[in-house]
Subunit: 194 residues, 4 copies
Amino acid sequence: MPKVGMEPLRRDALVRATITEIGRAGTLDVTVAQIARRAGMSSALAHHYFGSKEQIFLAAMRHILTIYGAEIRGALAAADGHEGRVRAVIRASFSEGSFRREVVSAWLHFYVLAQTQPEAARLLRIYQRRLRSNLLVPLRGLVGDRAGQLADRLSAMIDGVYLREALSGQPPDRAKAVRLVEGVLAASLIEDAA
Amino acid sequence: MPKVGMEPLRRDALVRATITEIGRAGTLDVTVAQIARRAGMSSALAHHYFGSKEQIFLAAMRHILTIYGAEIRGALAAADGHEGRVRAVIRASFSEGSFRREVVSAWLHFYVLAQTQPEAARLLRIYQRRLRSNLLVPLRGLVGDRAGQLADRLSAMIDGVYLREALSGQPPDRAKAVRLVEGVLAASLIEDAA
Amino acid sequence: MPKVGMEPLRRDALVRATITEIGRAGTLDVTVAQIARRAGMSSALAHHYFGSKEQIFLAAMRHILTIYGAEIRGALAAADGHEGRVRAVIRASFSEGSFRREVVSAWLHFYVLAQTQPEAARLLRIYQRRLRSNLLVPLRGLVGDRAGQLADRLSAMIDGVYLREALSGQPPDRAKAVRLVEGVLAASLIEDAA
Amino acid sequence: MPKVGMEPLRRDALVRATITEIGRAGTLDVTVAQIARRAGMSSALAHHYFGSKEQIFLAAMRHILTIYGAEIRGALAAADGHEGRVRAVIRASFSEGSFRREVVSAWLHFYVLAQTQPEAARLLRIYQRRLRSNLLVPLRGLVGDRAGQLADRLSAMIDGVYLREALSGQPPDRAKAVRLVEGVLAASLIEDAA
DNA sequence: AATGAATGAGGATTCATTCAT
DNA sequence: GATGAATGAATCCTCATTCAT
């Protein structure tokens, strides 16, 4: 049995291990050796596949973004109406795939990474833009010109809820998170109608 | 030049240098040597006064909290009426003393530190509780039983705006930050009245 | 030149280097860097294999004890009669493997280490118990109930001679050392017969 | 009240503190700051009086030797006959002033110091010579030409008992120590008579 | 493909010692 | 006489990274 085609498996294992370890340790100060051990291989192999610790971190960020994007797409496809679509984006942001303890923790740490890593900053901007645009489109249908303002509002709320969740030390409470953000949405719509 | 009574001066210089350096470097991975150099002394002296890097970080957190607390108190003293008080808390949160580039950056990093450092976690809880209670009291006068829900909403917004600011790479825009949070407040009050 | 299976070689080289360096420096204040350099490797590798300086020291103690134990066993196997066995233990205590300048010096320093290091203390107790019991058994055959007293006497003499040797600064004089302890044995046996 | 004549008091306090701290810590790795603190002064003052840590240690050794010498002289003055004098030396070696926990511990550590410090080695040789000669003189009266051999024997026993005591971790047992060494003396005298 | 071996570069911390007051 | 202030030098230890096999 030749050991061919191992590369994607190894890379994937490392990416998952990275998120797990960052979540577990509660720091970016995770060693390559730790990540590699959890992924079941030597740190030398991790370097072989990724070249540097930096690249491992970036791959983990991309992984999280990819999953998040997929969840958003899925939710939007199943949603009806403008408001339905906004709610779908909100709910997808706190869905099972993304709003897990380690993922949220890793996410917070990637925010920190983005302060020094240009590529990490770029990825984060992509996320922010995507989130904003996903909100903006259906919001236009709901509130017209006020959509931009409302998109900023909801984006900030989502990030704020994430931040608080990352710190709480408790298992994330999806329902409560959604309720908080949807509360702002509801208030904003009433305000608009008034 | 008397050489006595240096301790408070040195400690203060180190605390300020810590915030500056964390903000500048964009990481908690700041060496004691860097901090000490910026504060104009040897790293040995920094250890002499604080005992460990951990203590230096905690002192910096306390410093930020102290200033924030003072600003809140000042703003509340000058405010009139329930809504005035809520607005005062919001504005104080983005006041000149606290909503500066380095302070916001350092603050984000202290959030991360709190994931591993019990004392840092304690300080953070103090901040969160204080913020919530500062909002809760005047909100009760405005919306009664919905005050708790609204306090959570505004707290999350404030943190979300902070988080986004930490990442923007731009000098913080106080006015815009206040506008965002006050927007949520306004919408919530209309919603309540409806 | 295969580069596998280096671990035992490296560990061994470090253990020997430790004893040599302690003997040469005349202190426990030997740096890991010194030990590693003498063993022909980087200090990082030394830490890689032993984890800490403490563990390096303990391994060196164990090494000395192991050799000492082997010499005792060998001498006892070749000895005849009760008195022959006592003499064998005495001679083995001052044999070439154990009664060398650096080993004696290192040994003295391990005595000191045992004052603060529980594991070092344990190893030392093992040595003391082993020495005593090795003397006790054949002494029982010679002097019956007085064996315990005599074992203490001879043990103290052996340690005293070691201590003096560690200080002499001269190459150890095996013959003289053995003569001193055997002198006490002879006198004790005469005393017993009288 | 002028602060004159403080020097001898300060020096004395430091010397005592040194012995106490070495005994307490079980290491020579005692900091000047620790010693000074226990002596009730700043480490700067300790340096002012002694110039260096080395000198502090040497003064402590001299102090121990001085007391030991005084005890020997006192015991010899009160002793009768050759054997009485030998016994007096033995007993003085384990007298209350010298055979205390911290003193014995400090003594062991000074043995270690002597391996690197020429002056400490010199002091130790003085002690050894003095002990030997104190034993030699009365032993000549008892066993004539065998006195040298016996003096070596008893000296080694005394040091051996000290060493074991330093390690035992128990409060020193004066009576047992004396018994052990006097046992060798008794046996040696019987051997001589035979 | 995979890894044990190996290291250079750093970083926190400690401490004897000096100096100005 | 006495001390707080201050530091350079050293040491243990960690880790990303490289390399030979």
